[in-house]
Symmetry: C2
C-alpha cells in the first residue's frame, strides 16, 4: 500500500495565485498574524488575555532557577481548567494563568508563521518568530518536559491527568510548529525541543511502561509528522502506542482518575470504557464505527489513525478510518462542511441530528475534517474526500474569519436570529457577530495555519502523479519520475469553473490527475495530443510527457443547484439549500429583510437563477438571485391558531450570498436552509 | 363592575356525572390521594422522598420546646434551595430536608381532599386529613409563623429572602387548603392557622412597614380567597399591597439581597428592577404587557391581579390582566393549552417561540392558566376565556397524569423521540415516560386539586345567571333570583357535542348562559317556549322561568379540524395539527411506527377523517383515522445531500389519539404537529 500513497508538496514549491485565496493568505500575513502576536502578549484592548507570553516567561524563570541548582516551589497549585488572577488583584508574576492548554496558542501562531515564511521570506517576521522560539526553548525543563502549566503549578503532578490537562495536546502543537519551523528555516532549535519533550514522554509512556493516551488528540499525528521529518521510528511507534492503548480496558483515563481519587480518599470508579465517548476512548480505535464526542478531538484522532494506516501500511486501521469517514459524511455533516451538531460537549450528536439554529459546527472541527480528508486522499485518491475537504474549506473554515481578518467565529450556525441568540440561554453558544478574540482561542490561529498551508491541500503527489485536488490558482514545481516541471494553474472558482494548466518550464514524464468535482455539471477537457487519459475514482488522469507550453484546459459547468438533505434530517425536512460550485449560499437580512423563515424557495425554478456580484467589505463576491415567495405577515394580534388554509404568499426575489461571507455587513438574520414551496 | 361579576358554585352543589370526568375525579380519590398520602410520608419505594411529614413533626417538636419555655437552637442552618441528608448517613431527626417549599405538598394534598369531601363525604379520608391538619397546627409557632424550613434552620432569618425561599408561597397554599377545609368540614382549625400566619405576615409587611412581595406568587390570590371566606378586608389589602409593591423601585428583591450581601461584606447591587423578569418583578404589575419569566409564577400572579380587579372593582388592574391574557393567547400558547416555551427558568420564551420537542409546558403552568381563565370569566363572560380554559384542561392538564393515576408528567412536550430524550442533554428536561413522583412534586397534587374542584370551572353564576362554561355532564343546584333549581346537564364531549339540560326539581326565574365553543361547527339549539334568547360574547343567553321538566338541548357539530399556527411560529411552519371538539390529537409510534417526522398530513382532505375508538388502559377513547403520506426511508448509506427532487412518498393512513392519552402504551415517539403536504 505504502508505494501508492501520495504526499503534500513543500510549500516552497507552491505559490497560490488564486484571486480569492491569495488575498486570504495575504490577510493572514498582514492582519491575522500581527494581531495574534499582540494577543499572545495580551496587548489587544477589550479582548480576553491569552497569557501565553506571561506563562512562557514565568516558566523560563522557574526553569532557570532550577538549572541554577535551586528548587522551584510553586507559589500556587491549581486543578482548574482555567485559572485567572484573583478578582481585583494584579496577576502574580510567577503564576500560570488562562486555560491549561494556553501554550498551544503560541505554537499554532508559530506554525502559521513558518508556512508564511515558506511562501515568502520576511526577515522581520522571522525575527519575531525566533523570539517566540527562544521563549519556548527557555521554558523547557532540563529533562525535556515543556508545559508551563505544570512547570508553574507543580511539576510533580505532570502526566497525572492526561484526560483533562492537555499537556500531550500542547506537545502535539509544539511538534507541528517545530516541523514547520524546521522546514521553513532549516533551524533545529524548536525541532530539538520537540524531540526532547517527545523523549521525555516516551520515557514514561509506552509498551511495558505506563499506559496512557492524550485526552485531546493531536499528539498522534504530530508524532507521525516528527517521524516523517526526522526518520526516527520511535516517534511513529509512540504514536501507534497512543492510538492502540486508547479505549482498551482498564481505561487509562479511569485508572489515572482512580489514582487521583485514591490520594483524596475517594472510592474507586469502574475502569470500563463506555463513559469516555467525549474523548473517543469508549472502545479501541480499530473497532470504531461512529464519529462521537468532541468533534475536534474526533477529527484529530482520525488524522492520527490515517497517518498510522499510511505509515505502517495498516489495512485494519484504514478500514476504521473509512468507517468513521462514512459515519461523518453520511450521517453527521452539515452542508456547510461543518461537524458537531450539539454544543453539549462541542460534540457530534446522534446520526442525522443536524439542527441549523443550535448548531455547534466549530471552525476547528471543520479544519480537522479538512486535515482528515487530505490524509484520506493521501491514502486513496477518491474525489469524495476532496469534495468534502473543499466543502469544509470554502464554507465553514472561511466563515470562521471576517473578511477583514479582524474577528472570528468559533461556532458556525446555519440559521441565526440575533434577537434569539442574545436573549435565549439555549442559544448562548451562538454569537450573532464575530468576536475579537476568545479566552479559549483555538479557532483563529487554527484558521491561520490551515490557510497559510493551503498549498498542501491543493496538491499531493506520488513519484509518478501530481493530483489536482482543489482548483485554486497556483504555480507549482514538482518532480515526477525524476523530471522537474513548473506548472501554472489558473482558476477562480468564485467566478466560474474554468481551469487552465500550463507548463511554464521544465519537462517530466508522468501523470496529472484532475478531480471531477461532485458540484460540476459537465466537464469539457482539452489535453495535449499524445497524452493518454482515463477516469478513475472521480479523477481524470492524463499521462504523458509534460514540457514547456503543454496545456490542459478544463471547463466545469457550475450551475446554481438546489439541494435537499436526507429525509432523516428532521430539521431540514421540506427545506432547500442553494449551492454553486463549492459554495453554499445563504439568505441574509441585509438583502432579504427580517423574518427569513417566511421566505419560500422554489427549487423547481432553480434554472431561473441569475448570478450577480455583491461588494462586501471591498471584496467582490458572487451572489445569486432566485425567484421565491414570502408568506404574508399576519396582522398584529391575529389569532395564534386558525383553521388550515394554504399559507398566503406573495412573489419575491431572494438574494443569496456565499455562506462564508455572512455577517460582514452588521448584525442580522441568516439562513442556509430555506423552506421549499 | 362588582355587581356583574360571577362566582363559582360551592362543590356541595355540583356533582360531576360526565362519563369521562367523573372517572378522573374518582381516580384522584381512589388512586392519587392515597398515593400522595404515602408520598408525603416517604412511603413510596424508589421515589424521591417528600420529607413533608418528617419536617412537620420536627418543626412541631421545636415549637413545643419553645412553648415549654426553652430556646430552640437549630442544629444546622441551610441556605440551599434543597437540603438532603449527608450521603450515606441517616437523616437527622430535627433537620429540615427537601426543597424549601416542601410544606406546600401537604397543603395541596389537603386542599384536594377537602374538595373530594365536598363531593362525597368519607369519614376515613376526613380522619386522615384531620391528622394532617393537626400536624400542621402543631408546627405553627406562637406568633403565628408557620414554615418548617425556617423553624428548623433559623427562625431569625425568616422573611429575609422572599425571592428564593418560598415562605409566602407556602403560606398561600396553606391558605387555599384552609379555606377549602373550612368549606368542606366547617372546621376552623386550619383557617385560624392561616389567619394567624397571615397576621404574622401583615405585622411585618405593608404600607408604612417593610416592603416585600412573594418570590413565587400565590399568596395574592390566597389572601383574596381568605378575604372572601372571612370577610376580613385586611387580607384583601395585604394582597393588594403585595401586588402593587411588586416591580417598583427600589426593587424589594434587590433590597433584601443587598441586606444579605452586606452581612457577608459583599458590595451592593443595583436596586433597579429590570433583572427580575423571572419573578415578574421587572416592572409594576399595572404596566405589564407581556407574560414573561417562570410560567407558573406568571399565571399565579395573573390570578391575584384578576381577583384584585374583581374585588376592588379596579379597571386599571383589569386592563393589565387583559393585556397579559392577550400576550399569552396571541403569542405564547401551545395548541395543547400549555405555556412555557423554554426549560431555562421554566419560563415563557419570546413571542411565537413555541418549539415542540424542547417545550417546557409544565403541567402546573397549564393549571395556572385555567385558574386565570376562570377568574377572567368571573370578570367578563367572554367565551374566549372558556375556550382557553377548556383547551388547557382537556389537553395539557390531563396529559400531566397517566390514565391510571399512578405516574405524572411535569413537562408536556408536543414532540418526543425517546432515543433523543434519553441521550441528549439538551432534552434532559423532557421525560419520555411519566414519572412516579418528583423531589419537586408540584404537579401531581396540583392536578389533584384542580380535577377535584372541576365543578368550579364548569359553572359560575351571578344572582340572575348560571353560566355553562364547560360541557361536562353534571347535576347542579343553583339559586337564581331567590329561586332554587336543580339542573341536570348530560354531555360527553369525548364522544360528541350533544348537550341536554333538564330541570330536575325546583323553580327559578333567571338566565342560563351557554357557551358557544370556538371548536363547534354549528349549534342547533332547542329551548322551552316562552324563554327569551340572545347571543352575546360567545354565549347564548336563555332567560325565563325554569321549572321541573324544562329542557334545553344543544347539538354542537364537532368535526375533525385541521389547524395551523401563525406563520410567526417558526417551529410550526408548514405543519398541521388535528383537533376535534376540545381535544388536540397526536400521532403515536404505537399506531404509526417510528420516525413520525416522515408522515405527511393532507389537511385539504380532513373531511375524509374517520372516527373510531381505541381502548387504552381499559378506557375507551376517541381516535381519528386520516389519509396521509409517508416519505420513503432512504437506503442505508444513501448520500446525506442530493439534488432537489420532491420527496418520494407513499399513501398511508394515520391514526391519531387524544394528546392527553399519549404515553399510556409504553415508550414511543409522539407528535402533535405533522408536516403538511
Amino acid at each position: 500500500m505504502r508505494a501508492e500513497t501520495s504526499q503534500p508538496l513543500s510549500l516552497n514549491n507552491v505559490r497560490v495565485t488564486d484571486p480569492f485565496w491569495a488575498r486570504e493568505i495575504g490577510l493572514i500575513r498582514q492582519a491575522v498574524i500581527p494581531y495574534q502576536w499582540k494577543a499572545l502578549h495580551d496587548q489587544i484592548p477589550d479582548a480576553a488575555p491569552s497569557w501565553w507570553a506571561h506563562n512562557m516567561r514565568a516558566a523560563a524563570r522557574a526553569v532557570a532557577a532550577k538549572k541554577a541548582g535551586g528548587v522551584y516551589v510553586p507559589t500556587h497549585r491549581s486543578e482548574r481548567i482555567e485559572t485567572l488572577p484573583e478578582e481585583g488583584k494584579k496577576p502574580l508574576e510567577d503564576a500560570f494563568y488562562g486555560f491549561v492548554f494556553q501554550d498551544s496558542d503560541g505554537y499554532k501562531w508559530l506554525e502559521a508563521v513558518a508556512y508564511q515564511l515558506m511562501i515568502k521570506p520576511d526577515p522581520v517576521l522571522q525575527a519575531q518568530a525566533q523570539e517566540a522560539v527562544d521563549m519556548i526553548c527557555a521554558a523547557q525543563e532540563e529533562d525535556g518536559y515543556l508545559d508551563t502549566f505544570y512547570t508553574l503549578t507543580g511539576r510533580d503532578r505532570a502526566f497525572t491527568n492526561l484526560r483533562d490537562n492537555h499537556e500531550l495536546y500542547c506537545f502535539g502543537h509544539l511538534t507541528e510548529a517545530a516541523v514547520a519551523w524546521h522546514q521553513a528555516t532549516g533551524r533545529d532549535d524548536l525541532l530539538n525541543a520537540a524531540r526532547r519533550f517527545a523523549a521525555c514522554i516516551a520515557e514514561r509512556f509506552g509498551p511495558d511502561k505506563e499506559r496512557g493516551c492524550p485526552g485531546h488528540e493531536i499528539a498522534e499525528m504530530a508524532l507521525m509528522r516528527l517521524y516523517e521529518e526526522t526518520g526516527e521510528t520511535r516517534w511513529r511507534d509512540l504514536s501507534q502506542f497512543f492510538l492502540d492503548v486508547r479505549g482498551t480496558e482498564p481505561n487509562t483515563f479511569a485508572v489515572e482518575e482512580n489514582r487521583r481519587r485514591a490520594e483524596k480518599g475517594q472510592p474507586e470508579l469502574p475502569t470500563t470504557s463506555e463513559r469516555y465517548q467525549y474523548h473517543q476512548a469508549h472502545m479501541p480505535v480499530r473497532e470504531m464505527k461512529e464519529a462521537v464526542g468532541h468533534a475536534v478531538r474526533q477529527m484529530y484522532l482520525c488524522c492520527g489513525m490515517a497517518d498510522e494506516a499510511r505509515l505502517n501500511d495498516d489495512p485494519e486501521m484504514l478500514a476504521a478510518c473509512e468507517r468513521l469517514w462514512q459515519s461523518v459524511v453520511n450521517e453527521k455533516l452539515y452542508i456547510t462542511g461543518g461537524v458537531g451538531g450539539t454544543h453539549v460537549g462541542e460534540a457530534f450528536s446522534r446520526p442525522f441530528d443536524l439542527p441549523a439554529d443550535t448548531a455547534y459546527s466549530e471552525t476547528c472541527a471543520a479544519i480537522g475534517l479538512a486535515f482528515f480528508a487530505r490524509r484520506m486522499l493521501q491514502l486513496k485518491p477518491l474525489s469524495d474526500y476532496a469534495d468534502v475537504m473543499e466543502q469544509a474549506l470554502y464554507n465553514t473554515v472561511l466563515s470562521g474569519m471576517a473578511l477583514d481578518g479582524q474577528s472570528f467565529f468559533y461556532v458556525n450556525p446555519l440559521e441565526v436570529d440575533p434577537d434569539a441568540c442574545e436573549t435565549d440561554q439555549r442559544l448562548s453558544h451562538v454569537k450573532p457577530i464575530r468576536q475579537k478574540w476568545f479566552g479559549c482561542a483555538c479557532c483563529p490561529p487554527n484558521i491561520a495555519r490551515i490557510v497559510s498551508s493551503l498549498g498542501q491541500y491543493i496538491f499531493t503527489q506520488t513519484q509518478d502523479t501530481l493530483f489536482f485536488h482543489l482548483y485554486i490558482g497556483s504555480d507549482v514545481t514538482v518532480n515526477l519520475n525524476g523530471g522537474k516541471v513548473t506548472l501554472r494553474m489558473e482558476a477562480d472558482l468564485l467566478k466560474n469553473g474554468d481551469v487552465h494548466v500550463t507548463v511554464l518550464e521544465g519537462e517530466a514524464q508522468g501523470t496529472l490527475a484532475f478531480r471531477d468535482p461532485a458540484w460540476a455539471g459537465n466537464a469539457h477537457v482539452k489535453i495535449p495530443a499524445g497524452v493518454k487519459s482515463w477516469s478513475e475514482n472521480g479523477y481524470l488522469y492524463a499521462k504523458g510527457v509534460w514540457k514547456q507550453g503543454g496545456q490542459v484546459t478544463i471547463h466545469f459547468t457550475m450551475p446554481v443547484k438546489a439541494v435537499k438533505a436526507s429525509p432523516l434530517v428532521k430539521e431540514a425536512m421540506n427545506q432547500v439549500c442553494f449551492t454553486r460550485g463549492p459554495l453554499v449560499f445563504c439568505a441574509e437580512e441585509a438583502d432579504n429583510g427580517k423574518r427569513l423563515h417566511l421566505l419560500r424557495a422554489l427549487p423547481d425554478r432553480v434554472a431561473e437563477a441569475r448570478e450577480k456580484t455583491v461588494i462586501i467589505d471591498g471584496l467582490t463576491l458572487p451572489a445569486v438571485i432566485l425567484p421565491g415567495r414570502r408568506v404574508k405577515e399576519p396582522a398584529k394580534n391575529a389569532p395564534l391558531y386558525t383553521p388550515w388554509t394554504p399559507a398566503e404568499t406573495e412573489d419575491t426575489e431572494m438574494t443569496l450570498i456565499p455562506y462564508f461571507a455572512w455577517n460582514n455587513r452588521g448584525k442580522g438574520e441568516m439562513r442556509v436552509w430555506l423552506a421549499a414551496e
